[in-house]
Symmetry: C2
Subunit: 332 residues, 2 copies
């Protein structure tokens, strides 16, 4: 019998999403969701506004190692990756519920550290922690649900990219993957580099204000690049039934990543996951307005094209196609 | 340093709830929650109605064994225990998000079975499955978040019991614990008994309609007895700053539990967990109206008294106090 490792994470999600859609159980509530499974967050309409919800898990020895992350960093990241899903819809976070699984010999002081990390990001993002659950388990995991809303009737979707749209990305993709590689391979760099890479991997800052700004400027399509730039651009292209072309020369690689990883840096920027930057598409005038207004780096890296749904072309400086051999980060 | 096993589940929850309250991070959202940590579900006000959310985890070899539960039963129960929290607030479930953790060698057919179980209960309870997350893990766990609403401005709380209130409970407490004991000790009974006990433990039916009916009849205080009748009555008494007296003779023990567990049955009814019945308190006329209208068994088992917060007295048929030596089910 087929194992989930063979089907892969995205294959498994597709299968389950299809089961749920076929059984129509995503349509059971009195107010049908606008968006169910298959975007960064679920969206439904309440009296007068749009409500959003998302859930994500950080699992010991899958998503983190207690050798290289503090308890504060762990929960910061666990909350940040959920807030990033809300950011990718252009939403505002409101409430969080935290399900914690812990071995029974866990020291209480670690748990209070963990809550300090969560309190810090909750305050910064103005997210109220209203509930939770604690369970005994053989290893540590943190599953957080964030519920939020949209300030307007508009949200960012994966399915709204159109041929002719310019593709843009915030920040410096690949930095988190470089940080992970440094930590797992115990690579030694100058303190400044080590600090930047570690922070990129362990301390992502969700692009909440940026996501809301995108909605304000009329951008319709966005995703957070948690699975890697190419993999997440492919999610957009599949959902929007379009192709995309990326000018690899234009990829914003951070100088400290370029300096420490050399030729490998571009591959990290294309396929490294866990950046929690926003990738978005729209008409070039809207994209340029956003770029002018946002304080974080915004780089135009390519274009949405009419073509086979989900097809991504990588183009080098001379306009030649580059073969894609890495497709991003999957959980199975 | 102190370990979480020493502090215990309730001690740990109290500690974390205090940290969150002290940091005021339960008060960050624009609409302050009416109820944060410390009830069956969180509650906040949206435009015109009350919204509820709760999260709960089923962890392999802590809450279930794959030797004695099918994948369909596992996810039914994982969703049911969350729906039960919504029921204990008198709410209506609307949306569910499912975070699944799985070993990579899990057979795909098991996952589709799991989703069939979830789809069945989602349909029955009219809960839309709108999102989720799948993570690799060394063992199976299912964490479900349910978001719902209240049909009126009233909800059931742990903190609303008042001296003079009659205490009532739905169904037959202890049946789930009897089922667990049968499964773990491989006890042999007649098929009819085996079927009843297995179903009580593996296939709880959340008391959603009953919870909503309680609100309609003006009942203010309720809890689901997932931790055991005494432990959960104590949660009510602590939150309401009252004592309680239970007439042990009145406890509704199911004849099949009494027949198969004899003298032990009463202990299971008092301290066995995972029944997902509702325990509620109120003026005797309201309780009697509820009892007359509800189709499920409702038994009056005691009274709320003015006394030390959280104190529970057990009284035998002759009115003598019985010593409590078991206090319910804790996770650490």
């Amino acid at each position: 019998m087929m194992k989930v490792s063979k089907l892969g994470e995205f294959g498994l999600i597709d299968l389950l999403a299809k089961m749920i859609a076929d059984a129509k159980v995503d349509r059971l509530a009195p107010d049908q969701p606008l968006i169910g499974i298959g975007d960064d967050a679920a969206v439904w309409r309440t009296d007068g506004s749009l409500e959003l919800a998302t859930v994500d898990t950080m699992m010991q020895d899958v998503h983190f190692s207690l050798d290289t992350i503090t308890w504060q960093e762990l929960v910061w990241k666990a909350l940040a990756i959920n807030l990033s899903d809300i950011a990718a819809m252009g939403g505002v976070p409101e409430y969080a519920l935290v399900a914690l699984a812990l071995p029974e010999d866990t020291k209480v002081v670690y748990i209070t550290e963990l809550y300090e990390g969560m309190i810090a990001l909750a305050k910064q993002s103005r997210t109220a922690i209203v509930g939770g659950n604690i369970s005994r388990a053989p290893m540590v995991s943190v599953t957080i649900t964030v519920i939020g809303k949209s300030l307007s009737q508009d949200i960012l979707r994966r399915s709204a990219a159109r041929p002719g749209d310019v593709i843009a990305v915030t920040g410096y993709p690949g930095s988190a993957a470089a940080g992970l590689e440094m930590l797992t391979k115990e690579l030694k760099f100058k303190p400044e580099v080590t600090e930047y890479l570690k922070s990129a991997f362990l301390h992502p800052v969700p692009r909440l204000a940026e996501g809301q700004m995108l909605v304000k400027h009329g951008i319709k399509a966005a995703i957070d690049i948690s699975d890697g730039l190419i993999a997440d651009l492919r999610h957009i292209c599949e959902a929007s039934k379009v192709s995309a072309r990326i000018d690899v020369e234009k990829l914003p690689v951070h100088p400290l990543v370029k300096g420490s990883f050399g030729e490998k840096a571009r591959g990290l920027a294309l396929s490294g996951g866990e950046d929690y930057e926003l990738l978005f598409t729209g008409p070039s005038d809207a994209i340029n307005r956003v770029k002018a207004e946002l304080k974080c780096p915004v780089t135009l890296i390519g274009e949405i094209t009419a073509g086979a749904p989900g097809k991504i072309e990588l183009i080098d400086a001379s306009g030649k196609a580059i073969k894609v051999n890495k497709t991003g980060w999957q959980h199975f």
